[in-house]
């Protein structure tokens, strides 16, 4: 069991630890976190309105910011300041927006605790009456044996 757990945790750790930034893809990466502010409800890089009043300007500003600074978070903050907090669709990891990051894992964690509680409760219930105590007919018992064998119970 320990080995199985180790072999599962290893790839997960690799996934979490690896993934260095590809500098060439920064425009796409940061752009995928910004929303067009023309009320079209589309992401900046997906906004396809010909004649959109904002998207072209925002894209060129993004290119300029990517060239100017190497810190992606600074770029996102620049957009929050220039176009409003609604321009960035990835919440910050501090302040009120942290709540968005905390709620899903907290819900999952509480759910896990509930599942473990239910499992514990079930395991503490008295065991069902043993089959041997029921004086089952021999042929029924044979069928039960076969069922156990075939279902590996």
């Amino acid at each position: 069991m320990k080995r199985i757990l180790q072999s599962l945790l290893l790839p997960l750790a690799l996934v979490l630890l690896m993934g260095a930034d590809n500098q060439e893809a920064r425009f796409q990466k940061v752009g995928s976190k910004i929303m067009c502010t023309c009320s079209c409800a589309q992401m900046l890089l997906q906004c396809d309105h010909v004649g959109c009043p904002n998207s072209d300007q925002m894209r060129s500003q993004l290119r300029a910011q990517v060239a100017k600074t190497s810190n992606d978070e600074e770029i996102l903050d620049w957009f929050r300041t220039s176009w409003g907090v609604t321009a960035v669709v990835e919440p910050r990891t501090h302040g009120f927006e942290l709540l968005a990051w905390i709620l899903p894992p907290a819900g999952l964690g509480l759910g896990l605790l509930a599942v473990l509680f239910v499992i514990r409760k079930w395991k503490m219930q008295p065991a069902p009456v043993a089959a041997a105590d029921l004086n089952l007919a021999p042929d029924l018992e044979a069928l039960r044996d076969r069922a156990r064998r075939e279902t590996e119970i």
């Binding site: 996934v15 409800a41 669709v89 709620l103 899903p104 999952l108």
Partner: protein
């Protein structure tokens, strides 16, 4: 016709109200008079379907005959609109879609009431619950969103249908999704009825199993049609943008999926009764919430309807539903005690519990993300939208854990599974999965993709590995069972597999669904390897992307009564050889003020799609701007959906009558054990 429609809507409301009120009286009386009253309520419920059908027919007739005296037709149709889209006008606007909801609900109710002999008392109570829901939607259709409002002056032409909806799939997608949304009302009605009646046994679950699967099937198909429409029409190269309205359809899908799994615990072991009842209650409430989000304008979305007062009605209905569910549960919760205990953590039961935890966790995460703008507005007075980066970070790990459970769960036995059995069952699938992972990794490296440098691509690799594990475990289940039947019937392995499936359609249909799901997952994982390029293309200009060269040949314009269009003619070469010609197009619909719609040109193969869109014209040069995207493995998603539909269809088919086969002798069983084979039913 509008007058007839209005009258029928009112009449339908009266009939549904009669069905509900008299149903309550009949349920309270429980005597011969009550029985007769229940029968009249049932007939009134069935008649309400006919009335709503006539009302919906009247609206469609008004659309087909360009009756612009009806405000709804004026705002959602025009003379040049092709016939099928005029039919689709029924569900294209707020008022029509409420009427459509009421129509589908009364249609489900009609079938339910028609089949009342399944269990007359339970169906009578469920019919009463369903009538209550019908009353809400018919009140809405009559007083808050009446589609038969008449204009003071009759206009010469209408404003036209939303251009984004003028696409063949859009004629099918909304009805499919609505059938799913509305379909969950039926298991909800049965669950509430069974709880109110303190109905003994699990009969309500047996009755509603097919209803739930049908609703789930429609939801699945509807969601995937919507994804395909987004891919083919919106022109941004993706199929899922975590838009609030998309999320609204995913919420009940996730909870219904959880219910379809956990309900097996109740059927087979009499466990998780409280959980199942609440799952179906929550699923129904999520379907109402989804409808509310789409129609109230509470959230910003490319396909939400405009802001209106209808959201208040939905909020009130949601609150009433929640109160009713809580009260009924509190009064009858002692009826829902578990009949068995969990014997081991390594068992099918616990795998279902963790499966439910993850599905509900995913549902909660999507709900948080969808409602966060409203929370943010309430707290900070700013509507902070959450987009794909947030959802991808939260949902991908949950999704990967779910695929892992999809691989492991079906191979665990009920009650308890030995370590030896786990080793035996997983040795071959695990080895196959690792081998495939190595091969895929080598192929990517050969193509110059350093997947270990990108988190998304690492997740994709993990998804490939786990998906292969699922496919291998599903295949091993079919092969092992097929061999047993082959030996029993002295036939070939395929006939053995067929016999195996026919004897337990639900189980093996479920495996096919799992297979379809992992095909979808493989397709989704392909998105981590997308590439795109956009440039202005004068005649003769080229875009080099992946193995393809796209060459601009010409640029054309066209005009008809409904829309004007601009298109590029592009030759596509693959590895230097001519492959095909693509014509990406942009249409501007006249009745809608010239809003552009992209008609994507797509060369699709199993390996990848070459997806080309017409992005507009450069005002200075007059040359078209073309965007080319390589989307790997997208076709696997659509194929996977078809496999899911096939698997669900299989699971809906009744099992074959048990056939008489010679029972293997003790010697034969011993021989099978020596050969490492197991009789059919392992892990069942």
């Amino acid at each position: 016709m509008p007058l007839l429609g209005s009258f029928c809507l009112l009449f339908a409301l009266a009939l549904a109200a009669y069905c509900f009120v008299v149903g309550v009286i009949a349920a309270v009386r429980k005597d011969a008079v009550g029985y007769r009253l229940a029968e009249t309520a049932r007939r009134a419920g069935m008649a309400s379907f006919a009335a709503v059908l006539v009302a919906a027919g009247a609206l469609v007739y008004a659309a087909l005959t360009d009756d612009f005296s009806v405000a709804y037709i004026l705002h959602h149709s025009n003379r040049a609109l092709p016939g099928p889209y005029k039919f689709a006008v029924l569900w294209s606007g707020q008022e029509g879609s409420v009427l459509f909801w009421a129509l589908l609900l009364s249609a489900y109710g009609f079938v339910l009431r028609l089949r009342h002999k399944v269990d007359q008392r339970l169906v009578a109570m469920a019919s009463m619950v369903l009538a209550g829901i019908q009353v809400f939607f018919l009140v809405l259709a009559n007083f808050a969103a009446n589609p038969f409002g008449i204009m003071d002056r009759v206009a010469a032409d209408g404003s036209g249908l939303n251009p984004l909806l003028q696409y063949p799939e859009m004629v099918i997608h909304p009805p499919m999704l609505y059938l799913g949304y509305v379909g969950v009302s039926v298991p909800f009605a049965f669950a509430l009825a069974a709880l109110i009646m303190r109905y003994p046994g699990e009969k309500w679950i047996h009755i509603t199993r097919r209803w739930t699967m049908v609703a789930w099937l429609f939801l699945t198909f509807g969601i995937s049609l919507g994804a395909h429409w987004a891919y083919a029409v919106l022109g941004w190269g993706g199929y899922w943008g975590w838009d609030p309205v998309e999320n609204a359809s995913l919420l009940p899908w996730l909870s219904t999926t959880a219910f379809l799994h956990s309900v097996m615990m109740q059927e087979k072991r009499g466990m998780m009764k409280v959980w199942n009842v609440w799952l179906i209650f929550i699923t129904f409430m999520l379907s109402i919430l989804g409808t509310m989000l789409t129609r109230s304008g509470m959230v910003s979305s490319v396909h939400a309807f405009a802001q209106s007062s209808i959201g208040t009605w939905f909020s009130a209905f949601l609150a009433i539903t929640a109160v009713v569910c809580i009260v009924v549960f509190v009064l009858n919760r002692d009826h829902l005690h578990s009949e068995n205990q969990l014997e081991s953590l390594v068992s099918r039961e616990s795998s279902f519990m963790f499966n439910n935890l993850l599905l509900l966790g995913a549902c909660f995460a999507v709900l948080c993300g969808t409602l966060f703008p409203m929370l943010s507005e309430a707290v900070r007075d700013v509507k902070m939208n959450l987009g794909a980066p947030f959802y991808n970070k939260v949902m991908v790990p949950i999704g990967l854990l779910l695929i892992f459970l999809t691989a492991v769960g079906p191979l665990l036995a009920w009650r308890n599974t030995s370590v030896g059995s786990i080793k035996r069952n997983f040795a071959i699938p695990g080895t196959v999965a690792l081998l495939v992972e190595v091969v895929v990794g080598a192929m990517l490296v050969k193509n110059g993709i350093r997947f270990w440098t990108d988190v998304g691509q690492m997740y994709a690799m993990l998804a490939f590995c786990l998906s292969t594990l699922v496919i291998a475990t599903v295949a091993s289940e079919f092969i092992r069972g097929g061999i047993v039947w082959k030996n029993k019937l002295q036939t070939n392995i395929f006939a053995g597999m067929y016999q195996l499936s026919r004897r337990n359609m639900r189980r093996y249909g479920g495996y096919v669904v799992h297979f379809g799901v992992v095909l979808v997952v493989i397709g989704l994982a392909g998105a981590a390897f997308d590439r795109d390029q956009e440039q202005e293309m004068a005649t003769g200009d080229k875009i080099e992307i992946g193995r393809y060269t796209v060459v601009s040949k010409a640029y054309t314009e066209d005009d008809n009564a409904n829309y004007g269009s601009r298109a590029a003619l592009l030759d596509v070469y693959k590895n230097g050889k001519f492959l095909t010609q693509l014509n990406p197009e942009e249409r501007r619909f006249k009745a809608s003020g010239g809003q552009p719609v992209h008609i994507v040109a797509n060369h699709s193969t199993l390996r990848e799609d070459l997806y080309v869109t017409f992005q507009g014209l450069n005002d200075q040069t007059g040359h078209p701007i073309i965007k080319a995207i390589i989307n790997p493995l997208v076709n696997w998603i659509w194929i996977g959906v078809l496999v899911i539909v096939l698997g669900t269809g299989m699971a809906l088919v009744p099992n074959a009558t048990p056939m008489s086969v010679p029972v293997p002798s003790t010697v034969a069983l011993a021989n099978m054990e020596k050969q490492g084979m197991q009789p059919a039913g392992v892990g069942k």
